[in-house]
């Protein structure tokens, strides 16, 4: 195990940021810490990096107890949301910083910097200042700088949070490919479930200072441990006694499926290739949300006021409604 976190707790005054966190992250994996803002995931990452100290518990990195080590002795690479590049240094100097601190020979530093700039596609910008780079380029620079010292773990705090949607998606793919090449143990924090599902080997869902679930993207999506995880990983709606995903609801225009709930289409909204229906289900306070493809909706000839019968698709992921005895 590359990182072992045992019983870590952290409070800010009365606010419990982390409450008895236990997690172990295997070597070479790309792990996402996923959760809502203020849930404690960034705090956990900063404690692993040594930028914050835990009130209790221990952190072990590559078999070494790092709980009391200062950040410069932990051999971790840290990438900040707002890049934290050294503004007064050129791109090449930024990348060289960690190596120069370690007093490596000049030739070695030069070769390593060239190699890393190649890796992050910034070779032609080596002599520019960070202010002349775009946001995505600055974040790649920050990544190269962190990788230069060959850290045993790479920690990224909302690395794409400050970028616009398109660059974000590009960098996400790029990070996944980079990790497949470099294979350094990587942990990144995100509040974007799509980002976590797409990039990570393993996801740790953190909410209100506690771990809700640890698992692969598929496990989390298909077998959410509880209502929170289910709701956080995607849209959720209610149908009868269970909560399930809107695309896991089968729509029929005639009764026949046993146990189907009857309802009336209240609203239909088309977004791109999908159609989102709001269905007023009989005997249910909350209307149910249904998502189906445009072609499917057209085939069923649905319009406002149509009577429909809703039932969960076979193999649908569902959890019993909170506060009710499951049927």
């Amino acid at each position: 195990m590359s990182i072992e976190v045992r019983g870590v707790g952290k409070r800010y005054g009365d606010f419990v940021a982390l409450d008895d966190i236990n997690v172990s992250l295997p070597t070479g994996q790309l792990t996402a810490l996923l959760g809502p803002s203020g849930g404690g995931k960034s705090t956990l990452l900063r404690i692993i990096a040594g930028l914050e100290t835990a009130d209790s518990g221990s952190v072990e990195i590559e078999g070494v107890d790092a709980t009391k080590l200062p950040p410069q002795k932990r051999n971790v690479g840290f990438v900040f949301q707002h890049y934290a590049v050294f503004k007064h240094m050129t791109v090449a100097k930024n990348v060289a910083f960690g190596l120069e601190i370690r007093k490596r020979p000049k030739a070695e530093v030069k070769a390593k910097v060239a190699e890393l700039l190649e890796l992050v596609h910034l070779s032609q910008f080596a002599h520019r200042l960070p202010s002349q780079l775009s946001g995505g380029q600055r974040q790649r620079l920050a990544l190269a700088r962190a990788l230069a010292v060959e850290p045993s773990v790479l920690l990224l705090d909302e690395p794409f949070g400050a970028l616009d949607a398109k660059v974000r998606k590009e960098l996400r793919d790029w990070l996944r490919r980079l990790h497949d090449d470099v294979h350094v143990t990587t942990v990144f924090v995100t509040h974007d479930q799509e980002e976590a599902l797409e990039v990570a080997d393993e996801i740790v869902v953190i909410n209100e200072g506690r771990i809700e679930q640890i698992g692969s993207p598929d496990q989390l999506y298909d077998e959410p441990a509880n209502d929170f995880v289910m709701g956080f990983l995607g849209a959720v709606t209610q149908l009868g006694p269970v909560r399930l995903r809107p695309h896991d609801i089968e729509v029929a225009v005639q009764p026949g499926v046993p146990g189907a709930a009857a309802g009336v289409v209240q609203r239909a909204l088309r977004v791109g290739f999908e159609v989102r229906l709001t269905v007023d289900v009989e005997g249910q306070a909350e209307p149910a949300l249904v998502v189906l493809s445009r072609a499917h909706a057209r085939a069923l000839d649905l319009e406002l006021g149509s009577r429909v019968w809703l039932s969960p698709t076979t193999g649908a992921t569902s959890v019993p409604l909170l506060g009710e005895v499951s049927a």
Binding site: L51, P70, P71, Q72, F78, F80, A84, I101, R145, A148
Partner: protein, 282 residues
């Protein structure tokens, strides 16, 4: 970033009226008095006597005048040095660390700006004079005299110009934040390396700006130094005290010459400051 230095495009009568008032105000308050000092510096002392630049230089070469200027320079140099080192240190302490009494400290730092320099001088005398002071007695027995000697004058100058470096550096430190310092520490840099290679280059211009302001303030310091200095010619007489002494003793030409040098130093400082501002914004 949006350009914040936008100006109104329309020029109406109000614009011209405002311009006139500002120019008149500055002329009456600043330009005219300074012009008087300058013209008198180079004017002949009496009918038939030599005036101009050579007479001005001759007055400055008087031993009491060279002594006064070198004393002023000494005081200003040490005061600025002390304030730069402590100023940067205190700024880091205030912005980078949380400790009880932090807010009180940041209020205390502004105190020298609001307290009259004469009161500062008096306070130093009370604290350090050999007769009655708290530390005075102890220091005297160790053979150190503060009041009536150069160390006391340096202290007075340093006290008065204390906030200038801090006021320039603190906002910059707050603006740059701690992320790049944390990044440097995770890359293996220790505290000193972070300061020298990351923090200092970022606050460089603020420090230089603060130093120039402190220097200008220190050169012109009068009230606090006057109280702690013996204030006699060749004995604790700084340039400002010299100007006052000579002026009241009917040796106006020397007073004018010394005053002109101080004005020149301030103008020079202002030019440097405006150049730095330009550099900083580019």
């Amino acid at each position: 970033m949006a350009d914040t230095r936008q100006i109104r495009a329309r020029k109406g009568p109000v614009t011209y009226a405002l311009r006139f008032f500002v120019i008149a105000y500055l002329a009456v308050l600043v330009v005219w008095p300074l012009w008087e000092v300058t013209s008198r510096t180079f004017a002949p002392v009496e009918r038939g006597a030599e005036g101009g630049f050579s007479a001005f230089l001759e007055r400055l070469q008087d031993p009491t005048v060279t002594y006064a200027f070198s004393l002023t320079a000494t005081c200003a140099f040490w005061a600025v040095l002390i304030n730069t080192v402590f100023g940067v240190g205190i700024s880091l302490l205030i912005t980078r660390y949380n400790f009880p009494g932090r807010r009180i400290l940041s209020v205390l730092i502004d105190l020298p700006m609001s307290v009259s320099p004469v009161v500062v001088g008096l306070a130093l005398v009370l604290a350090y004079s050999s007769g009655q002071g708290w530390f005075g007695g102890a220091l005297e027995s160790a053979g150190i005299f503060i009041i009536g000697s150069t160390p006391g004058m340096i202290m007075a100058t340093a006290f008065v110009s204390l906030p200038l470096v801090i006021r320039e550096v603190v906002p910059v430190l707050e603006e740059i934040g701690i992320d790049s310092e944390l990044a440097a520490s995770s890359l293996g840099a220790n505290g000193w390396q972070i300061f020298r290679r990351i923090t200092l280059p970022s606050i460089k211009w603020a420090v230089v700006y603060g130093v120039v302001l402190s220097l200008a303030r220190s050169l012109g310091e009068f009230g606090a130094v006057k109280i702690v200095s013996p204030g006699a010619a060749l004995r604790g007489e700084t340039a400002t005290i010299l100007i006052q002494n000579r002026y009241t003793n009917f040796e106006e030409p020397t007073a004018y010459a010394a005053a002109f040098v101080l004005v020149l130093a301030s103008v020079l400082a202002l030019v440097v400051v405006s150049l730095i501002r330009k550099e900083d914004h580019s």
